[in-house]
Subunit: 253 residues, 2 copies
């Protein structure tokens, strides 16, 4: 098997890594710490449990990223203090919602599709906001907001958001959605917002009826048009009580 | 003036903030620290220099985000230790290039255009990569990569990247670009990549000549078509030595 180094950027440095684990010796050096003669005893003392990996000269100890962060805050060398200052700055930028930091993190992602997912997720938030403000202008109130989301989730995801979070092991629903699911939700909610506006609907009941019908329609479109039952024209969504969300393949996005 | 609270999310809590400064009392409470009876002396001791802000009941002390982070790491209360653990996790996710964290940060941005900028910046990276791989397939070598970037920068930004970083006070060139500039660079480099492919060009000289000509053309388009001098057909870019990047309004994106 070819050894594929995969560097992880730490501040201005780039550390060798394998599958998300840092080359321990390089990481310790960055923190100004000597690599211990007896790694096993050092690892026991510091509670380090990461696996060994081959960086080109046979198996070597690694540090997970949480282990590296912990050691970085424990160490009191000048290098570690410098790293701590950098970490403080990053945390402040994170709290500030610094979109440049957001870009740096996305660019550091090993997933080549990360940018596409990120865009889909941010678009999803825009679509949701647009729907909510449209609903507010059309006499929607209180409980309708949650109900609209529930209809969207049941239709696109085939389950409610609590089940999704449980099944996919995420704290926030959108963290568990893949790009297609985000795209479908954005599309569905944009289509409903547009139709509410166009048809001049008023009140919770009319809005929910419309959204159910747009959702059923979207599901049909996604699953492939049924030749015997052509889709109605855009803007005239139709209720389709028969169809059920089928063969969704839940997978963390 | 209306007092507009603007919360900043810290972990699962949301702290009152004004213009990026946290309400000091709420922030200290989150860290399990008592609000001091004598703020001025506390501030002197801890090197806190943030201005007072009105949160609805007159001027009150604030903490900048870096000050909050520093106090959070200094404090040894159970609440501060919990916050430190959260901070460690965030740093590990940041190092891992966790695109979900990237989304959370972008969503926390107070700028409503943050998503658009982020998308433009990530697209810009894709366009650059595409151009570079096209150039590599068409016999481009070594120094041509930097030269292409220089031509793009001179044309779109009206200056080289070192001057831009200095003028706009940023470390990385792309951090200093606004959405329009990112869009123009992506467009320009995509157009050149496409034309290299289509015209089957080979070698540094031919590639650079083409890119200069596409850049001049893009600049003209952006500045408004000149009626006396209609643009040539797409795919046959023409050199236009006369035009200069004019009236660029440099501003950090």
């Amino acid at each position: 098997m070819k050894v594929t180094p995969q560097n992880i950027r730490v501040g201005t440095r780039s550390l060798p890594a394998q599958g998300g684990f840092l080359h321990a010796q390089s990481a310790l050096t960055l923190l100004g710490l000597a690599f211990p003669a007896d790694w096993d005893s050092y690892a026991r003392t510091h509670g380090l449990i990461s696996p060994q990996r081959d960086f080109g000269i046979g198996a070597e100890p690694t540090l997970s990223l949480p282990e590296f962060v912990r050691l970085g805050f424990e160490a009191q060398t000048p290098q570690a203090r410098r790293w701590q200052k950098t970490a403080h700055k990053l945390l402040a930028r994170m709290l500030a919602g610094d979109v440049r930091l957001s870009a740096e993190i996305a660019e550091a992602s090993p997933d080549p599709q990360a940018g596409r997912w990120l865009h889909a997720r941010l678009e999803n938030q825009n679509a949701r906001k647009l729907l909510m403000s449209t609903v507010a202008r059309h006499g929607g109130s209180a409980e309708v907001y949650g109900q609209l989301g529930s209809i969207s989730n049941a239709s696109v995801l085939g389950m409610d958001s609590a089940s999704l979070r449980r099944e996919r092991g995420v704290k926030s629903t959108r963290d568990g959605l893949n790009t297609d699911e985000l795209l479908r939700l954005s599309y569905l909610e944009s289509a409903t917002a547009r139709a509410i506006e166009e048809q001049g609907l008023q009140g919770n009941a009319a809005i929910l009826r419309l959204h159910r019908s747009v959702a059923a329609q979207e599901r049909q479109t996604w699953q492939g048009a049924d030749a015997r039952n052509p889709a109605p024209r855009v803007g005239v969504p139709r209720l389709n009580g028969a169809s059920r969300p089928a063969e969704l393949s839940p997978q963390a996005g």
